[in-house]
């Protein structure tokens, strides 16, 4: 087993773990973390692709590496946005869950009028 295959298997495992976490965990924070795990798996896969596509005498194909940089920036901002939303949700309601019966909670039961404006 060479290095590229090993990393490929690792990335597949990361993707699998992340996907599992994203689907199974009900809590948003866990989902965000699982998304990051899944993203890392994909980035690692890009690295493997770069290594396998290396031309003679080069360490790796530069294009996937450039893609990974962009991907990391995007994933970072996605995580930041998600965490910011979650924090705001915590401030507003004191919860960090996404259950649908939020409006039944008397503490944040506002008049119907404002809900429709």
């Amino acid at each position: 087993m060479n290095a590229a295959t090993l990393f490929g298997v690792c990335s597949a495992a990361l993707v699998g773990l992340g996907l599992y976490g994203l689907v199974i965990h009900p809590r948003p924070l866990r989902k965000i973390l699982a998304f990051n795990l899944l993203g890392s798996g994909v980035f690692l896969l890009f690295g493997v692709v770069a290594r396998r596509g290396a031309a003679a005498g080069m360490g790796g194909d530069p294009v996937p590496q450039a893609l990974v940089i962009t991907g990391i920036v995007v994933a970072f901002s996605a995580t930041a946005l998600a965490v910011a939303l979650l924090l705001r949700l915590l401030h507003e309601t004191g919860r960090t869950t996404l259950n649908a019966d939020a409006s039944k909670n008397p503490s944040n039961n506002r008049p119907r009028e404002s809900a429709n404006s």
Binding site: F35, L45, V74, A78, L81, L85, L89, L98, N116
Partner: protein, 504 residues
């Protein structure tokens, strides 16, 4: 090129200028962008070929290309019209109150409207799969905050749920991109078209990318995020989200299956996609029938209408006269996408006006609203006709084309689903209109005066979708422009023709 640059510049300018200038920048840029979209259509129509622009003069596979073919030109114009109408409509809702130099909601709204527009244009024009990934992410990041503009708890959780679904979708799409690059060494759509062969890596990539895009398009059964998000957003934002944003990822599904790997679209894949579409039509319509609030009903109807879009796939994958049937279905599908964009935007706008005037949007208490806001209810009714698919409207022509296509392909069961979907749509729209047209015991007094101009904007959008149905069918040849690459040879010819570098 300018089509992407203009809204982006607008977004950055609005953010930098801040305050009152934000809205004014948008007012100034919206007509300019509309004109530009029409110029692109005229260019595509005149040359009869796709327009391409290579960023920095680097041709693929090293560089990135932006390419406008018939499909993208049509979607660009639709987007520009809807965004302009939304801008006009939102002027009243997102005006900065006198005495304050800057308010949060208007600033954010105008900046994000520009951002959504820029991202959509990039999605329609992009010719590189990774570039398209970035465009999709921009679209998501612009759309999610629009959902929670008013900052209430339920819209926040709707936005968070939307974001989680979207992130799930985008990471799957990215995984597919990685596999495709690993398999073929390029991400340019035209180059991939000539390279992709039906083999495991292509199937895996196509499956992952499609699943990711479906989550963003809210196709059944990945639709759970859509109703709370679209119903909770302010009406102007809902119009853009429901009419346009879901179309962005749908457009990519079509690009993927028709332009990147048409060889892969076998019977099984096509049947899976259209079964999901049929499920969306039935589930979305039935759920829409059960809603008590108008905006939720409209949001569920979006799910059903998205289902129709996916009924164009079985014909394309069918065996009987594939070229003819696939063109028919493609035209029908895109006509449906465009007319749904107009109609749904008009519908959310008129629902927003009704909610403003009544102070609520409970369907059971709509009685008498037609006397109070006749123009609004008329616009809503016209949009409803279109969603049901009654002539004369773009929705009718679209559904008729799709019906003809599936029957030509000998797959009558999809026709049955379409007809049932039309009946159900008639049912839920009738529920609203029957109430709205009913006499009230005493005349209703609007809580806030509704300016006639805003009613007319909703009406104009509904009219747009009706006009789409009155256009001669020949006009839809536009959609086929730049799509005649049946063989790799034709593809490379197209490549050399379009390297002249138009500055759009």
């Amino acid at each position: 090129m300018l089509a992407v640059g203009l809204p982006t510049a607008g977004m950055l300018l609005s953010l930098a200028l801040g305050g009152r200038l934000t809205g004014r920048t948008a007012q100034f840029l919206l007509p300019a962008g509309l004109g530009l979209a029409f110029a692109i259509v005229a260019g595509v129509w005149r040359t009869g070929d796709s327009l391409a622009y290579f960023l920095g003069g680097w041709a693929p596979p090293l560089g990135l290309a932006l390419r406008a073919d018939g499909l993208s030109a049509a979607m660009l114009v639709t987007t520009a019209i809807v965004v302009c109408a939304t801008g006009l409509y939102a002027r009243a809702a997102f005006r900065i109150p006198p005495g304050i130099s800057e308010a949060r909601a208007p600033l954010v709204f105008w900046v994000l409207l520009m951002a959504v527009w820029a991202a959509l244009n990039l999605v329609f024009l992009g010719d590189d799969l990774f570039n398209l990934y970035v465009a999709l992410e921009l679209l998501t990041f612009a759309a999610v905050p629009l959902v929670c503009l008013d900052g209430r708890a339920e819209t926040l959780s709707a936005a968070l749920r939307y974001l989680l679904f979207a992130l799930f979708g985008s990471v799957l799409y990215l995984l597919g991109v990685a596999l495709l690059y690993g398999g073929y060494g390029t991400l340019d759509i035209a180059l991939l078209f000539s390279l992709v062969r039906p083999e495991p890596v292509a199937f895996a990539a196509a499956g992952l990318m499609t699943a990711g895009l479906l989550a963003k398009t809210a196709l059944f059964p990945l639709h759970l995020w859509l109703p709370p998000a679209h119903a909770g957003a302010p009406p102007a934002a809902s119009a853009v989200l429901s009419g346009l944003v879901v179309k962005g990822s749908f457009f990519l599904v079509v690009r993927l299956w028709f332009d990147v790997m048409p060889g892969l679209l076998n019977q099984a894949a096509a049947q899976i996609l259209s079964t999901l579409g049929a499920g969306a039509i039935l589930v979305g319509s039935v759920l829409a029938l059960r809603q008590a609030r108008l905006k939720l009903l409209i949001a569920y109807s979006t799910i059903a209408q998205i289902g129709y879009l996916f009924l164009m796939f079985p014909v394309a994958g069918g065996s009987a006269s594939p070229q003819f049937g696939s063109n028919l279905a493609l035209t029908g599908g895109f006509l449906q996408a465009m007319s749904h964009a107009f109609a749904k935007a008009a519908m959310f706008m008129s629902a927003g006006l009704m909610a403003e005037a009544l102070g609520h949007d409970r369907i059971a208490e709509l009685r008498g609203v037609a006397q109070m806001l006749p123009v609004t209810v008329f616009a809503f009714g016209m949009a409803a006709l279109l969603l049901i698919g009654l002539p004369p409207s773009g929705g009718f022509v679209a559904k008729w084309l799709l019906l003809t296509a599936v029957i030509t392909a000998g797959q009558w069961w999809w026709a049955l689903v379409m007809l049932v979907g039309g009946l159900l749509a008639g049912g839920y729209m009738f529920r609203v209109l029957a109430r709205a047209l009913g006499e009230a015991a005493e005349p209703l007094i609007p809580r806030t005066p509704v300016p006639r101009s805003r009613e007319l904007i909703a009406l104009a959008l509904a009219l747009c979708s009706v006009l789409l149905g009155l256009l001669p069918l020949r006009a839809f040849d536009l959609l086929q422009i730049g799509r005649q690459h049946a063989s790799p040879v034709a593809c490379s010819e197209r490549h050399t023709i379009s390297t002249t570098g138009h500055w759009y």
